[in-house]
């Protein structure tokens, strides 16, 4: 059977919503009965992308962060989108330890963590328009 399920959430660019965003995605993918490790992988990746939208995309100012999440069989597709400043050089931004905000103690590991914890990662961005991070992960089959 081709099972699909979709949701989309939009929320204020406020740091208090970082944990909310993780919880929402985690509870949506819980339908796939994932392992604790799989859930944590997704939570970490979502947390990185949402935090980036809030602090880099919107520079801690007002704005909306949008997460789309689609389940298809045992695969999860997640998009995290902001309409913020955008990224000038995506290749550079994705380099490990690269950060434009060392003064607020960003470690430059956000994109590396997204890559490490998800199967696929695509970053699309346009200066002045915003950034969309697309990630996917296939969950293990659970033996019953």
């Amino acid at each position: 059977m081709d099972f699909t399920n979709e949701m989309k959430i939009e929320f204020d660019s406020k740091s208090i919503n970082e944990s909310f965003a993780r919880t929402v995605v985690a509870s949506f993918v819980a339908q796939l009965d994932p392992t604790i490790e799989e859930i944590n992988d997704v939570k970490t990746a979502v947390s990185e992308a949402v935090t980036n939208a809030i602090i880099h995309g919107y520079n801690n100012q007002d704005g909306k962060v949008i997460i789309s999440c689609k389940i298809k069989d045992r695969e999860v597709f997640i998009e995290v989108k902001d309409r913020g400043v955008g990224i000038e050089d995506i290749g550079k931004a994705m380099e490990p330890l690269y950060t434009t905000r060392p003064e607020i103690e960003r470690s430059g590991m956000g994109f590396s963590f997204m890559e490490a914890f998800m199967d696929k990662l695509i970053v699309e961005s346009e200066l002045g328009k915003g950034t969309t991070v697309k990630m996917s992960k296939k969950f293990e089959k659970r033996g019953d």
Binding site: I16, E18, S19, S47, E48, T51, E105, R106, F113
Partner: protein, 133 residues
């Protein structure tokens, strides 16, 4: 913010919104972290820790993760930042009570090259005591 003074230590509870606690034992600061260490929570912890490091002449920091389920790269920033503050005066940073999930993040980040992991806060306190002699 609440402050409780004991015989040998001072315990400071931070922002209601953020679960976490700071305990000062001599030159050691123990930061008992809350459930999540993300960007939101790291803001308060950073601020509070730095105030204490400055005012109380702190040399050793123990981040206790025994109550922590979740950490992302913001947590790495918090630890690295505090590490830089005490390393120049010959101090060190330790982590304790690290769960599997947090451990994976530490490994991935390479943080174990500069900080040491122990099971319990008490072990580290003993270690620091023995250094002082």
């Amino acid at each position: 913010m609440k402050e409780i003074r004991n015989k040998n230590s001072t315990i400071i509870s931070i922002h209601d919104d953020v679960k976490g606690e700071f305990e000062i034992i001599g030159q050691t600061l123990v930061v008992k972290l809350g459930e999540d260490l993300d960007h939101h929570n790291s803001l308060h912890i950073r601020e509070q820790a730095d105030k204490i490091i400055m005012n109380k002449n702190i040399k050793y920091i123990i981040f206790d993760f025994s109550g922590t389920d979740f950490m992302d790269s913001s947590g790495i920033g918090v630890i690295m930042g505090r590490y830089k503050k005490v390393i120049f005066i010959g101090g060190s940073v330790y982590v304790t009570g690290v769960s599997n999930n947090v451990d994976r993040i530490f490994k991935l980040s390479g943080l174990y090259k500069i900080i040491e992991k122990y099971n319990k806060v008490e072990e580290v306190l003993e270690l620091i005591k023995s250094k002082g002699k």
